[in-house]
Amino acid sequence: MTREYDVAVLGGGLMGAAIGYGMVRLGRRTAILDEGDLAFRASRGNFSLVWVQSKGMGMPAYSAWTRRSAAVWPDFAAALKQESGVDCALDQPGGFTLLLSEAEMERRAAFLARLHAQPGFERYPYEMWDRARVRQVFPGIGPDVVGASYCPLDGHLNALRAFRASHLAFAARGGDYFPEHPVETMEALPGGSFRIVTPKGAFAAAKVVLAAGTGNARLGPMLSLAAPVRPQRGQALVTEKASPFLTHPVVTLRQTDEGGIMMGDSQEEAGFDTSLGLGVLAVMARRAARMFPEIGRLNVVRTWSALRVMTKDGFPIYQQSEAAPGAFLCNCHSGVTLAAAHALLLAPMIDAGALDEGLLGAFTTRRFDVSAAA
């Protein structure tokens, strides 16, 4: 028996759930085909920032897309809460990058100036703050903190709840979720629909969205879509719950709505190895304790790693297959920041059958088609 849908979304992480939710909002009969609990699941290990500052060096369109997502996150969070009953604790008070030396301060200021000076970059407010000003917001900073960059557009949330809320909202609108349905083969049929085969049966869909993270590298070529993505490991730590003392997220450090202090920003090329190392964890914890000495007294209760879905240049891929129109490939490593855009902006484009050239034209894999010798 073949089950028929308007849209099949491959991958049930935050990206797949957000796009799936966007499709059912538009009234489309939608299936999410997912792997099981053993899938590499960035959605369960991420740092939960909705982050704007510093993104888009080399691709202004990425900054613009990120900003749009941050701007529609309040609408997305409100919709999720209404439809799922889950509050994902979105908070966008502005965010900081704390700097621990004059040299870091100068590098940061120069980087942000260069970022905003790029042709076609939509500028937005940001400021370099000296120590005295940072201290007014964070009285607990350590003596090593020289200053910070601040951007009022930054924020964070509880991404585990956002993940759950997206799935609940998807189901509440009639979406069908199929765990343990890894896709084995897939083909475009004459007439424009797709046949998707899993160990638990076949599906037919008018459109297919590949949102399977690193799994897209295997799935994409079935529909003439190249997905040059690799895993990049990130490790993180969280402390016991503490009473509120960080009022704003700091890019490598944030206090969750439940009280734990999360630390983590490692970027490691380790393939699909998700093991942890005290060396990396200790470096991150020590830097956090230099920023806020009081963190050094808290107990770490959990450490983990997850795999970012990384492209060669670090920017997302959004591409419709030219050989098989109706098949869309989506990859990014900032699935939390971009979730709102995926649900509210990308899903309508997929539904209309065309990605907006102005917003997403820069994100096709054509940008990788440059000979290495050039």
């Binding site: 607990g140 016991e240 719950k241 503490a242 009473s243 003392f245 439940e258 009280g259 202090i261 806020f292 000495p293 009081e294 963190i295 007294r297 808290l298 107990n299």
Partner: protein
């Protein structure tokens, strides 16, 4: 309410519980001393504020958390009682720096 089996055998240790002078016995863990004092609840949980007290008494359940000598979220069952200790109820989440 717990009763001590061999009270006379071990010397008394004086300490303070939420500022009040109280007594335990040498060889007590802080958690055991609190239970012997009838203090079944020694903390309020971080999320709902519900009362909790020592349960597993072997370092696993984390329900016996207290503030000891100014450091929050100590596992009372793993800390030997000492003369002069300052033990306080853990009210909800730990305060950073304490």
């Amino acid at each position: 309410m717990f009763r001590r089996l061999h009270e006379a055998a071990r010397p008394v240790l004086r300490f303070r519980l939420d500022g009040e002078p109280v007594e335990g016995r040498e060889g007590d863990s802080v958690a055991a001393a609190l239970l012997a004092l009838g203090r079944d609840a020694c903390r309020e949980t971080a999320v709902s504020g519900a009362a909790r007290g020592g349960y597993c008494m072997m370092g696993v359940c984390f329900d016996c958390l207290v503030v000891i000598d100014g450091t929050g979220n100590r596992q009372a069952c793993l800390v030997p009682l000492r003369e002069g200790m300052l033990v306080e109820t853990q009210h909800g989440r730990r305060e950073p720096g304490r």
